[in-house]
Amino acid sequence: MNILNLFIIVPLLTVVVILFSKSIKTTRVIAAIGMTIQLLLASWLMYYYLSHFGVNDLHKMIFVSDKVWFPTLNIHYAVGVDGIAVAMILLTAIVIFAGVFVSWTMENLHREFFISLIILATGVFGFFISYDLFTMLLYYELAVIPMYLLIGIWGSGPKEAHAMKLTLMLMAGSALIIAGLLGIYFNTPTIDGHHTFNMYEIARYKIPLKAQRLFFPLTFVGFGVLGALFPFHTWSPDGHASAPTAVSMLHAGVLMKLGTYGVFRVAIFLMPEAAHEMGWFFIILTATSVIYGAFGAIMQKDLKYINAYSSVSHVGMITFGLLMMNATAIDGAILQMISHGIMTALFFALIGMIYGRTHTRNVYEMGGLLRVIPFLGTMYVLAGFASLGLPGFSGFVAELNIFAGAFMHHDLFHRVATIIVISSIVVTAVYILRFVGIMLMGPIKNEEHLKLKDATWYEKLSTITLVVSMLGIGLYPVWLTNTILGSLKPIMLKILGG
C-alpha cells in the first residue's frame, strides 16, 4: 500500500475510535495519539525525501500511485508528492499536533469537536498528497462542513454570522475553482478520446491562450479567496477572530496556504502564459493585501483581529512572491507559507492561552503580563520577532528571498510594487512592537491579572513544538530550501519556458 494513503487512513481511524470514547480524557488521548502518529509519519517522509535525493535530483515525485476512478471522465485517484508537498504536509502535521494539545480542556461536546478538527485536517492532508485536480477539489471542499460547525458551535463572539460568512465566501471561491478546473480539463488534448485531470499531464501541454485568459483569473481568484486576496479577504479577520483557538491555528496556519498552494500549482503552473500576461493586475491586488492588512492590524484592539489582519498581510506577500515568476521569489514564497504557517499558529495558540486566563482579548486592558506569565510572554515575544522577519527566524529567509526575487524585475511597475510591499515590514514592526509593549511590558493594569498561572504542560508542549520548528527553519534553512528548490526546477521550466 502507498504510504501516503496513511495520511488519510490514520486520521479516519482516529475519528472512528473517538466515536466510542466516553469522556474527554480518553477522547483527547486518542486524538493526541493519532496526531502524534501523523507527525511522526510526516517527519519520516521529510527525512526519507532528504536522505534519498541529492540537491540535483530532488525534483522527483515519490510514492506515486495512480488508480483510475471514473474511467469515462478519466478521473483518477492519484497521489504522489514532491518536495514542496512534503514540506506542506510536515507543516500541517505540526500545526494539527499543536492544535490538539491546545484544545486539551475542550469540555463542551468533546467528541464532536475533535472529530470535526481531525476531519478538517484530513482534508488538508488529502489536498497536499493528490495531484489529480478532481481529487484535489474533493479534499479542498471536504473542509467546509467541519469548519462551519467548529466555528459555529465552539466559537466566540458573533460566531454564527462569522461562520456563515467564512463558509459562504470560501464556497463562492470554490465555485469559481470548479468552473476553472472544468475549463482546464476540456482544453486539454484528448488521448484515446479522454481529457485529463492529471496535473502533470496537463503541464506537458500548453492550454490555448484564449482559454487561459478566462480560466486563469477564475482559478486565481477562486483559490485567492482562501488566500485572503484583497478584496476577498473580509472573511479572514471575522472568521479567525470567532473560531476556537485550534481552528484559528489550523485555518490561518494551513488552510490559507491551501489557497496560495492552489494559486501556485493550478493557476500559475498550468497557465503560465496568462500569468505573465495578466500578472500585473493581481500584483496590484496582492500588494494591496499586504499593505492593507498591515495597516488594518495597527488599528485593531482585539488580539485575534490583530493577528488575522497581519495574516492577510503576510499571506498577501506569499501570493506576491508567486507572481514574481522567478525561482528566487517563488522559493521565498513557499518558505513563507511554511514559516508563516508555524508563526501564526503559535500566535493564535498563545492568544487563546492568554484569553483563557485574562478573559479579554483587548490589548489595552492588559499590561505587564511578562512578569506574571513569563513563559507565555516570552513565547509571544518570540512569535512577534518571527513575524517581524528578524534574522534567525524562519520569516527572515522567506521574506528576503521574495524581495530579492522581486527586485530582479527591472521595470518601474515591479519596482514600485516591491517597494510598497517592503514598506509593510515597517508597519508590521510598528504594530508588533507597540502591542508587545502595551500588553507584556509596563505596569499591570488589572489587579486580577496578578493571580494568573503560567502555562501548563500541554500548553508548553504545543508552543515549544511550534517554536522549535520555527527556529529550526530560521537557523538552518538549507534542508528546506534545498527540498523546495529541487522540486521547483521542473516547475520553473514550465513557468519560464512558456
Binding site: L138, E141, Y148, G152, L168, M171, A179, L182, G183, L218
Partner: protein
C-alpha cells in the same frame, strides 16, 4: 403474449398485479384490522422492486409504441426504490387512527401513478406517452388531498388537478403541432424529420412547458410551494422525488432521442430556464420557515441544476442526469424522512422548531445534516459528485459562464441549508423537540438513505454502469 413480451413489460405488469391485488385484499380485511394492509403492501411492493432489478434484454412491443431498454429498466428501478423508501417512511403516518380506513388507497394510488410513469418512460410514440402522463397525474391529485379534512390538503389537491389539466392541454397542443409538421406520432419517425422550422420549434416550446410544469421549472413552478405545504409529507416527498424523477427521465430521453437534431435551438431555451430556475428557487428558499415549503423551493433549485446536465446533449449528459437523480432520491428522501419522523412525533414542521434538535435527537440531526450538505453538494457526500458531473456535462458543450452562475448559486443554496444545520446544532432552545424513537421501517429507510448518501458518490462502478446504459440507448 409470449414470455419475452411479459419480460419486457415486467415492471408494468407486476405493478398492475400488485395494485389490483392490494385493492382486492383490502375488501376481505375487516375494518378494525386495516392496519395489517400496511405490512401486506410493503411486502408486496418490496417483491415488485426486487424483481425489477433482475436484468433482462430490451426490445420493442406493439409495433414500436413500447420500448424497453436496459436504461429504461434502470430508471424504473430507481423510481421503484424511491417509492419503497417512501412507503417505509409512511407507516407511522398511516398507522394513525384517522387514516386507518384509507390505508390501502394510499398504496394503490401510488402504484397506479407508478404504472403511468413506467409507460411514459418506455413510450415509443406520443400517444402512449400522453396516456402514461395522464395516468401518472390524476391519482396524485387524490393523494395530495389525502388529508381531506384539512383545508390545506384539499386545496393542494384541487390546485394540482387544475394546473395538471391545464399543463396537459398545453402539452397536447404542442404535440399536435409537431404531428402537423411531421405527420407521425412515432418517436423514431419524428426524430428523422425534425428541423428548425417555426412550427416544430413552437410545438417543442409548448411540449417543454407542459413537462416544465411536472418538473416545476420556473416560470411553471407556481403551484409547487402551496401543494408541497398542503399535501401530507409523504406525498410531498413523492411529488418532489418520484414525480420529478420520472419527468426528468422522460425529458432526457425525448430531448436526446427525438429532438436531438434541433439541439441548437433548445440549448438556448434551456440556458435561460436554468438561470431563472436556479436563481428564483434560491431566492424564495432563503425566506422560508416552513420546512416543507423550504424543501419545495430547494427542489426547484435542484431541478435547475439537473437541467445543466441536459445541456450536455451526449452520453455524459444523460448519465449525469440519471446519476444525479439516483443521488437525489437518497438525499431528498433522507431529508423528507427526518421531517416526517419529527412531524409524527411532535407536530413540528418549522425550521425554528428544529432548534436544539441535536441535543435531544442526535442521530436524526446527523441524517438531516448529511442530507442537507449532500443537497448543497459538499464532498465527500454523493451530492458533490452528482453536481460536479452535471457541471461537467454543461462544460463539455462550452457553457462555462453558465457553470459559474450555477456554482455561485450552489453557494447561495448552501446558506439556507446551513440555516437548518445551524438551527439543529448551534441555536440554543429551552424547549426543543423531545427525545423520541421513530418506527422501525422509518429507521430502515433512513439507514438506507444515509448509506446511499455516503456510498453512491464514491461508487464509480454505478456511474460507469449508467454510462454503458446511456450508450446502449443513444447509439
Amino acid at each position: 403474449m409470449d414470455l419475452h413480451s411479459i419480460i419486457l413489460l415486467r415492471h408494468e405488469l407486476l405493478l398492475t398485479i400488485a395494485a389490483i391485488g392490494v385493492l382486492f385484499a383490502d375488501l376481505f380485511v375487516p375494518e378494525d384490522r386495516k392496519k395489517s394492509m400496511i405490512t401486506v403492501s410493503l411486502v408486496v411492493f418490496t417483491i415488485v422492486t426486487l424483481v425489477g432489478f433482475i436484468p433482462a434484454n430490451g426490445g420493442t412491443l406493439f409495433g414500436g409504441s413500447f420500448q424497453s431498454t436496459r436504461m429504461t429498466d434502470f430508471m424504473k428501478d430507481i423510481l421503484n426504490l424511491a417509492v419503497l423508501l417512501i412507503f417505509l417512511q409512511s407507516t407511522g403516518y398511516l398507522s394513525k387512527p384517522e387514516n386507518s380506513w384509507k390505508v390501502s388507497e394510499f398504496f394503490v394510488l401510488i402504484m397506479f401513478t407508478l404504472i403511468g410513469m413506467d409507460f411514459m418512460i418506455s413510450a415509443g410514440d406520443f400517444v402512449i406517452f400522453y396516456i402514461g402522463l395522464e395516468t401518472a397525474s390524476i391519482p396524485v391529485a387524490g393523494l395530495a388531498a389525502y388529508d381531506r379534512m384539512k383545508s390545506k390538503s384539499a386545496e393542494a389537491g384541487v390546485k394540482l388537478i387544475l394546473l395538471s389539466a391545464m399543463s396537459s392541454g398545453v402539452m397536447l397542443f404542442g404535440l399536435s403541432l409537431i404531428y402537423a409538421a411531421t405527420g407521425s406520432i412515432y418517436f423514431s419517425d419524428i426524430a428523422l424529420q425534425v428541423k428548425t422550422t417555426p412550427l416544430i420549434v413552437l410545438g417543442f416550446i409548448f411540449f417543454l412547458s407542459g413537462l416544465g410544469f411536472k418538473l416545476s421549472i420556473v416560470p411553471f413552478h407556481l403551484w409547487t410551494a402551496d401543494v408541497y405545504e398542503g399535501a401530507p409529507i409523504n406525498i410531498t416527498a413523492f411529488l418532489s422525488v418520484v414525480s420529478k424523477g420520472a419527468a426528468a427521465f422522460i425529458l432526457v430521453i425525448i430531448l436526446f432521442s427525438v429532438f436531438k437534431n434541433i439541439s441548437q435551438s433548445w440549448e438556448w431555451i434551456l440556458y435561460a430556464l436554468v438561470i431563472v430556475t436556479i436563481t428564483i428557487g434560491n431566492l424564495f428558499a432563503l425566506r422560508q420557515d416552513n420546512i416543507k415549503r423550504f424543501l419545495a423551493f430547494s427542489s426547484i433549485t435542484q431541478v435547475g441544476f439537473l437541467l445543466l446536465g441536459v445541456m450536455g446533449n451526449n452520453d455524459i449528459g444523460m448519465t449525469s442526469v440519471v446519476y444525479f437523480m439516483l443521488i437525489y432520491v437518497f438525499t431528498n428522501l433522507a431529508a423528507f424522512g427526518v421531517v416526517e419522523a419529527i412531524y409524527n412525533a411532535s407536530g413540528v414542521e418549522t425550521i425554528s422548531g428544529y432548534r436544539g434538535l441535536y441535543k435531544t435527537n442526535p442521530l436524526l440531526s446527523l441524517v438531516m445534516m448529511l442530507a442537507l450538505f449532500s443537497l448543497a453538494g459538499i464532498p465527500p457526500l454523493a451530492g458533490f459528485f452528482g453536481k460536479f458531473f452535471l457541471f461537467t456535462s454543461a462544460a463539455s458543450q462550452g457553457f462555462y459562464i453558465l457553470v459559474v452562475i450555477a456554482a455561485l448559486n450552489a453557494t447561495i443554496s448552501l446558506y439556507y441549508y446551513l440555516k437548518v444545520v445551524k438551527a439543529m446544532f448551534i441555536d440554543p432552545n429551552d424547549e426543543p423537540v423531545e427525545k423520541f424513537r421513530s418506527t422501525w421501517p422509518m429507521r430502515i429507510s433512513l439507514f438506507i438513505t444515509a448509506i446511499g448518501i455516503i456510498y453512491v458518490g464514491f461508487a464509480s462502478n454505478i456511474f460507469e454502469f449508467i454510462v454503458s446504459l446511456a450508450k446502449d440507448l443513444l447509439h
